[in-house]
C-alpha cells in the first residue's frame, strides 16, 4: 500500500517537475497511440460501414473474424509484425523495425478490430426507418451514409476511444516491434516493463499512474466532445 501511495506521489513529482525523460516517453506514447488510432479509424470506419449496411458474400465470416480479432493478444500481433518487418522478412527493405512507425503499425492492427466491430454495431443501431426516409427524400447513397454516420456519432466516438485505449495500454507488441530504445521507441508501458525488470517497482508504478492519467485526459476530452454533440443539448 505504501508503494502505491509513493508511486502516485512520484508520478505527480515527475510531471510537475517536468522530468525530461518522463515527458519524452509520455509524448511518444501519445504520438504513437493517436497515430495508430487515426490509422485504425481511416481503415476501420469504411469496413464497419460495409459490415453494417453491405450485403455481400462472406459478410458474416468477416464479422466473426473481426469479433475474434477483438481478443487478439498484442504479443502475437507484435511477433507477426516483427517477423514481417525483419530484414529477412517481406517488408525488411523498408527498415522500419525498432522505429515508432513500426509501433504505430502494430498498435493500429490491435485497435482495428475494435474500431470495425464497435462502429458496425453503432451504425447498425440507427433506425432502418431513418435510412429509408433519407433515400425517399432523394438523398444520394453517399449523402445518406454521411447522415447515418452523423446520427451514430456518439457510439462511433466510443469506438475510437476503445481503439485508443487498447493501443496506448498494450506493452507486448510495443516491446517487440519497438525494441524499447531509450529516446527512440520507449513508451510508458515499455518503460514500466523495464523498470519492473530492474526491480524499480516504485518508478514502474509511477509510469503506470502517468499512463492512467494520460488516458483519462484523452478520454475526458473525447467525452466532453461527445456530451457536447448530444442531440438533446441543442
Amino acid at each position: 500500500m505504501e508503494l502505491l501511495r509513493e508511486a502516485i506521489g512520484s508520478a505527480v513529482r515527475l510531471l510537475t517537475h517536468g522530468d525530461p525523460y518522463t515527458l519524452e516517453v509520455l509524448l511518444l506514447s501519445l504520438r504513437v497511440s493517436l497515430s495508430a488510432t487515426a490509422c485504425a479509424l481511416v481503415v476501420g470506419l469504411p469496413l464497419g460501414m460495409a459490415i453494417a449496411f453491405g450485403r455481400f458474400p462472406g459478410r458474416r465470416l468477416l464479422l466473426a473474424l473481426v469479433n475474434t480479432g477483438m481478443g487478439m493478444p498484442p504479443v502475437v500481433v507484435g511477433l507477426v509484425v516483427t517477423i514481417l518487418l525483419w530484414r529477412s522478412g517481406p517488408l525488411g527493405a523498408l527498415g522500419l523495425l525498432y522505429t515508432p512507425t513500426a509501433m504505430t503499425l502494430a498498435q493500429a492492427v490491435i485497435a482495428l478490430p475494435l474500431v470495425v466491430a464497435l462502429s458496425a454495431a453503432a451504425l447498425g443501431q440507427v433506425d432502418e426507418e431513418f435510412r429509408l426516409q433519407l433515400r425517399g427524400l432523394g438523398a444520394s447513397r453517399l449523402r445518406s451514409l454521411w447522415e447515418v454516420a452523423r446520427e451514430a456519432r456518439l457510439p462511433l466516438l466510443a469506438a475510437a476511444m476503445a481503439g485508443f485505449g487498447a493501443a496506448i495500454s498494450e506493452a507486448g507488441a510495443a516491446l517487440m516491434v519497438g525494441g524499447n530504445l531509450r529516446g527512440q521507441t520507449r513508451v510508458l508501458t515499455t518503460a514500466a516493463v523495464l523498470e519492473t525488470s530492474k526491480g524499480n517497482f516504485d518508478l514502474a508504478l509511477a509510469f503506470g499512474v502517468v499512463l492512467l492519467g494520460l488516458t483519462f485526459v484523452v478520454s475526458l476530452a473525447l467525452t466532453l466532445v461527445q456530451l457536447h454533440g448530444r442531440p438533446t443539448s441543442r
Binding site: 501519445l30 493517436l34 527493405a93 530504445l181 521507441t185 519492473t196 454533440g229
Partner: protein, 298 residues
C-alpha cells in the same frame, strides 16, 4: 452542428501530423540508412538484459556513438533470443554470456571472431537464515545438492537466458533433475526473478551485477549464501555478425562496435563502472586475455 466532425477531423489530422514528424525524425531516417557506409551507420546490438539492467550500456553506448558516429540500437533480450537474432542476421553484433550457445553460433559460420569482453560472477542467493544450510557446503555443486535435498524453494529463470543455462548445467553436474513443488520457473528477467524469490523466501542464482543493483528493493531479505566457485564465473563475449547471416547485416558497423568494446577506452570504462554507486566494480575487463587464462586465475 458540425462541430463534432470538426473535432474528429482535427484529431485525425493531429495524429497524422504527429506520425509525419515521426518519419522525419533521426530515428526514422536512420532506419532507412540500412547497411550503408560504415561511418555513421546504424548498428543493431542484440544483448542480454543484464548489461542493460545494470546500466553498463547506458555508459558504453553513448561513448561509442560519440567516438565513431555510428548509431546503436540496443535490443535487450535473453541470451537465447540475442544469439538467435544474430543467427538470422537481424542483429549486427551480439553481446552475450552463454558460452555454449555462442560457440554454436560461431560454428554456424555467420560471425566474425568472438572476442572476450569482461566477466563478473554469479552468486547463489537465498533467505538470510539459510534454511537449507547452503553456506556450509563446499563447492557450488554441493550447494545445489543442499537445496535439492532440503527441498528448499528454488526459483529458476526458465527462459533459456545465460543464467538459466548455467543453472541447468549446475544441476546436471550435481546429478539432479530438478522438479517437484520446490522447483519453480519464473519465466522472467533477473530482477523480477529475484523479487519472486524474495517474496517466497526461496533460493535463486543471480548475476552479481543485477543482485547488487536490485538489492535495496527487490532483493530485500535475500543475501548471498554461496559465491566464489570458478563454475560461477559469468563471461561475456562480443560477436560481430557477417553478411553470411543475411544481406542486410551492417557488417562494418557490427565489427566496429565489437572492436571498440575490446579496445582500451571501453575496457577502462568497464573497470570503473559501478565503483561510484556500489563501492566496487560490477565487471572485470578481460579483452586480450584467453578464456583459459581466466580459468587459471580463478
Amino acid at each position: 452542428m458540425t462541430r463534432w466532425w470538426v473535432a474528429a477531423a482535427a484529431l485525425v489530422a493531429l495524429a497524422c501530423g504527429l506520425a509525419a514528424c515521426g518519419g522525419g525524425s533521426p530515428a526514422g531516417r536512420g532506419a532507412a540508412a540500412g547497411s550503408g557506409p560504415a561511418r555513421g551507420s546504424e548498428v543493431i546490438l542484440a544483448t542480454t538484459t543484464s548489461t542493460q539492467d545494470s546500466g553498463l550500456l547506458d555508459v558504453l553506448v553513448p561513448a561509442f556513438q560519440a567516438e565513431t558516429g555510428h548509431r546503436v540500437k540496443t535490443i535487450a533480450v535473453g541470451s537465447g533470443q540475442a544469439i538467435e537474432l544474430g543467427r538470422r542476421g537481424e542483429a549486427d553484433v551480439v553481446l552475450a554470456h552463454s558460452p555454449a550457445a555462442e560457440q554454436q553460433l560461431v560454428a554456424s559460420g555467420v560471425t566474425g571472431g568472438r572476442l572476450l569482453v569482461m566477466h563478473n560472477d554469479f552468486v547463489v542467493i537465498g533467505p538470510a537464515n539459510d534454511p537449507a544450510g547452503v553456506a556450509k557446503t563446499r563447492g557450488v555443486v554441493g550447494a545445489m545438492r543442499a537445496i535439492a535435498s532440503g527441498a528448499a524453494p528454488f526459483i529458476s529463470r526458465g527462459d533459456q537466458s545465460g543464467t538459466h543455462t548455467l543453472e541447468l548445467k549446475l544441476w546436471q553436474r550435481a546429478g539432479i533433475t530438478p522438479g517437484g513443488r520446490w522447483y519453480q520457473e519464473s519465466g522472467q528477467g533477473m530482477g523480477a526473478t529475484i523479487q519472486i524469490a524474495a517474496e517466497q523466501r526461496a533460493y535463486t542464482i543471480a548475476d552479481r551485477g543485477t543482485y547488487l543493483a536490485t538489492r535495496t528493493q527487490a532483493g530485500s531479505g535475500l543475501k548471498v549464501v554461496f559465491e566464489g566457485d570458478p563454475a560461477l564465473r559469468n563471461v561475456y563475449h562480443v560477436i560481430p555478425i557477417t553478411r553470411a547471416a543475411g544481406q542486410r547485416v551492417n557488417q562494418d558497423g557490427g565489427l566496429a562496435f565489437a572492436n571498440w568494446l575490446a579496445g582500451k577506452r571501453a575496457q577502462g570504462m568497464i573497470a570503473e563502472f559501478g565503483v561510484a554507486t556500489h563501492g566496487r566494480p560490477l565487471f572485470v575487463p578481460d579483452a586480450g586475455k584467453r578464456e583459459a587464462d581466466l580459468a587459471a586465475a580463478a
